[in-house]
Structures are given as structure tokens and as C-alpha cells.
Symmetry: C2
Subunit: 311 residues, 2 copies
């Protein structure tokens, strides 16, 4: 059941990363970034978000980005949508998959989506109907699944009940998202084990942020519990609205390196990712939190020094 | 055998962190830092290094720092020493324990210590003799135990043979150090399991760097393999001479938070560490890599927003 031969990594930098950036990234550069990410071997990319341009002006060119990207074969270009209107726009833009997002926490859902959870569930029903009409799948994300910055921990039963309701409403795959980096590996193990009783590993994505330095450790805990799909962002782009300066999503190249180091294949060209990541500071106007891009691969050795130091 | 009731964290920031800093940290501020670290509940602190002031000018005041610190009861103030001369100075300074360091890799040992490994083993013998005369213990560290930046991976048998030789020469405890952040969790699991066949968990310390973002994941792997003692540095101070801008040691407050999140006691006041960490950028003149100091505790909730966003 569990695909032991590797993991699937979905790049969310163009969406979850760029949405928080202050500097406007021109549409052409967003398109080039998505194309380069796909060229590195990443088979799933969350390209943009069809939300109100007032709420997230940095992604107001979602349709243009979708129109401009090259479509590689066997690569899924998905779009985040919070509601019916977003789904219609995403389908017009020829997104391959919709990622519907709502929160486990009522408070966070209202703050983030401007709706109650019940309203969001209704929207999901409509989003699925629209997607079915276009013959594409809907992934449904549970934001704040590992804790809400306003409410704190969420009941485990609320998460599993939400998964069941997502499937009842027609979603075909699920993401558990640690939206503000509150997860810990014990909790991750519990939630992944419970989720995998309801979802196949191929249909469950774990979305972690490195806000408190636990991003990779949570990936590892999820992986050891059977999870095989992970979101991450190139350079660790992203952030947390409550913690200026805090790290964003788990960094794609750090994540790929982790899996390669433990001999788990990803199908991704890590050197190509490092090359791309090195260009990000120019694109966004600041250093990025990823570690590997600064340090290089452990397997790239340094020349033997010929100085003799007395200690 | 394994003390399941908690972990011991040794703060190495005043030594491994400050040694690489360009800005001179005045002796009084080093003393204040060590005192504050001890006040936070950390029971083991590597205070400084008795090496050539030419090699590491930033720690040339090691004796003065030892002379100035307050000695809390049940707290061990240790000193790094690479040789006999260093041991004599450290004992004069009233260090509670000596941490003798040499490398697994011949090339790294020569570059770092100016000696062959055989010369270093001879030095260890003398260091133990001097320490025994002063009735203090010698911890012996294997630097580059998880890989050398010049030679690459080191044979596992070389590490276990070195541990045996350390004990034969009179060391009472061992540190495995991932000097330039090359370790991965599979390798850590193997080496910790093999080491714990030779060393009790109370006498084995794991020293990881976060150079490639795998610091905490390696701690976790070691912990799950039975290791119970870890080195770390406040704010994640430290670095790697081969990777400017790369992260340093595993960050103490991130590490303590990790253990507290998974319900493993440390005996350390995390809020006090966060307060100390927040002062570090002033001390060293740059931002530090630790995550938690930027994000705050996950359990510290944010006020519920009263804005209604349309998404």
C-alpha cells in the first residue's frame, strides 16, 4: 500500500512562498520560476492562488501565470482556491487540479477565508461540482491541522471528521497543513497514523512550516508513520504573519537533500534546485532561510589545506 | 540503563559559537553570558577553549573568563583542550572538566590541530595524566566523526576503535562530533547504536551542527537510538569555515523546545533562554540562525483578529 520506493514532493513556493513577499515579482519571472522548477524533475507544483487580489495582491496575476507556463508531461500544475469563484477562475486558467483550503479552527477560517467552517464546507461542495464538470480533481487542505495561532491545539477527532467530510463532499485527496509551524513529531505521528486509516498514502500530503525549526523533523516523523507526499518551497520561501523574520515552508532543497541522504528517491535534480535557489534572493530582495544552498552538498569535498596550524 | 526521564544539554555557544565570531566579545560580556546560561538551568557549559591565541584570538581570554564566572552548584564548567599545554592552562583556570578534541580524519586533525592522529593520542595520554593529578575528568571528542570536509565519510570501525582507544587512554566520557554538519539520521542511528555498546548513555554526547538543516533531525535520530546528551549553542551561534553564512551548532533554544514539545524534560527554563537569545545579535553584531527566538513558543497564542477578510 505504501509506495516504499520514494516520495512525492510538491513545490508550493510560487504560491505559499510568493504570497507573503512584499516585493512584486513580475509575471514573467513567476512563469520562469515555475518552468525551472518543473524542469528540475518536480512533478507537482502549486502555481498560484485564485483568491481576492485585494487579500493577496502578490498573486493577482494567477491567470496570467497559468497562461504563460510551459506544460511538462506528467506534471501537475495546481491552484489554490478558497471558494466557488476561485474554482471558476482556476478552471478557466486550465489548472490541472484544485487545492481547496479551509481551516480546522473556526477562528482561523473566519480570519483567513471570511467564512464560517460550515460556509467553507458548502463552498467545497460547489468547488467539487465545478471541478467534476471540468474533469479535474480537488485536493482539500485542512489548515491549522496541528494547531491554530488563535485557538491553540485542535481536537484530533475534528481533523479525522474533517477528512471524512472532505471525502463525502467529493475531494479525492487530502492535505494536513501546519499553517503556522505549531506541529511536533509526537502529534504528527498520531495524526498521520489516524489519517492513513482513512486515506491512502498516495492521497495524503503533509504541509509543514519550519517556523520553530521543526519542519524537517516533522517530515521525518510523518515519513516514518507512512506518509509519502510532502509540500515544500524552494529556498524555504514563505513566512508566518505572526512572526516577522521567522522561517517559512520547509525548504525544498533541504527536504530533497534529507531524503537523498537517507536513500529515499525523489526523482528530483538536487543540483538544479540549488542553482535555482541561489537566484531567489535576487527575485525576492532578501536572503532565504534554506540551509543547503549556503552550505552545499556534504558530498562535495573541499581541497585539503596545506597550512599547518599549531593549536 | 538509559535515563528515560530526560536529556542533558551542554551549552557550547561560549566556545564553539564565539570562536568563529569576527567581532571581539569583551571578557565581561562572555562572563555574563556564561552566568546567565547557568542561571537558566543548563548544568553543563563549555566555557572556552585553551588553544593558541594566534589560532583562535576570539577565545584568548579563556583564563580570565574562567576566573570571572560565578560557579553554580551542580554545574560543570568545562574547557576544550587540544594538547598538554592547553590542559595545564585549563586546570590552572579551575575548569571542572577537560574536553580533549581530535579528529577521526587524519587530514582534518592535521589541519585543525597541527598534529598527526598518533601525536594527538599521545597528547590525550598526557592530558589525562594531568587531569588525574587535579582529580578532574577528561571527555574526549571525535571531531569529523560523521564525515570530514576533506576526506569524506569515515569508516565506522575507525570511530568505534577511537572510542576504545580513548577509554584505554583514560577518558571517562566521549563526544561524537559532526564538525561540519555532514551527518544524516541513518548514519547517526548506526553510529549511536554501535557507540552505546561501548559507552553508557550518560557518558556519550552527540554534537551536531545544522549546516545543512539536519541538526535537529540528527538529534532526534540519536535520541531514538538511546543517546541522552547533546551539545548545542544559544541562538545557533557557530558556523562552518567552509560555508560562509551557513548555520552553526544546533540551536539550544530550538533543541530545548523540541524536547519539551515531545514531553522530554530538560530542566531548563526555555523562556529565559529565549530572553538571552534575543540579546545575542547585539553581542555578536549579526542575526543568529535560531528559529524559536523569532517565532516564539507555539503555546503562546495570538489575539483573535476582529477583521473580516474576503478571500
Amino acid at each position: 500500500m505504501i509506495p516504499l520506493d520514494g516520495v512525492t514532493i510538491q513545490e508550493v513556493g510560487p504560491r505559499d512562498g510568493l504570497q507573503i513577499e512584499q516585493r512584486w515579482v513580475p509575471t514573467g519571472e513567476k512563469i520562469a520560476l515555475v518552468n525551472a522548477i518543473a524542469d528540475s524533475g518536480i512533478k507537482r507544483i502549486e502555481v498560484s492562488s485564485f483568491v481576492s487580489p485585494k487579500a493577496i495582491p502578490s498573486l493577482k496575476d494567477a491567470s496570467e501565470v497559468f497562461a504563460g507556463i510551459k506544460r511538462r508531461p506528467n506534471t501537475i500544475y495546481s491552484a489554490l482556491v478558497p471558494n466557488t469563484k476561485g474554482a471558476e477562475r482556476a478552471i478557466d486558467a486550465k489548472a490541472d487540479e484544485l487545492n481547496f483550503v479551509m481551516s480546522a479552527s473556526e477562528t482561523h477560517n473566519f480570519a483567513n477565508m471570511g467564512m464560517t467552517r460550515e460556509q467553507s464546507f458548502l463552498e467545497l461542495g460547489s468547488v467539487v461540482a465545478i471541478a467534476n464538470g471540468a474533469s479535474i480533481n480537488v485536493n482539500a487542505t485542512i489548515a491549522t491541522a496541528f494547531g491554530c495561532p488563535f485557538e491553540g491545539p485542535q481536537l484530533t477527532s475534528k481533523i479525522t471528521d474533517t477528512i471524512k467530510r472532505y471525502f463525502d463532499l467529493g475531494a479525492t485527496s487530502i492535505t494536513l497543513a501546519d499553517t503556522t509551524g505549531m506541529a511536533n513529531p509526537v502529534q504528527v505521528t498520531t495524526l498521520v497514523e489516524l489519517s492513513l486509516a482513512l486515506v491512502s498514502p498516495n492521497d495524503l500530503t503533509l504541509h509543514f512550516h519550519n517556523t520553530r525549526g521543526l519542519g524537517l523533523i516533522n517530515v521525518d516523523a510523518a515519513f516514518r508513520s507512512g506518509a509519502r507526499r510532502f509540500d515544500s518551497s524552494l529556498g524555504g520561501l514563505g513566512g508566518c504573519p505572526f512572526a516577522p523574520g521567522a522561517s517559512g515552508n520547509v525548504c525544498t532543497e533541504d527536504l530533497v537533500n534529507f531524503f537523498h541522504e537517507i536513500d529515499v528517491p525523489t526523482g528530483i535534480n538536487l543540483r538544479e534546485l540549488l542553482r535555482l535557489s541561489a537566484e531567489l534572493p535576487k527575485l525576492v530582495g532578501h536572503e532565504t532561510p534554506g540551509q543547503l544552498a549556503k552550505a552545499g552538498l556534504a558530498s562535495d569535498l573541499h581541497p585539503q589545506p596545506n597550512i599547518k596550524r599549531s593549536a
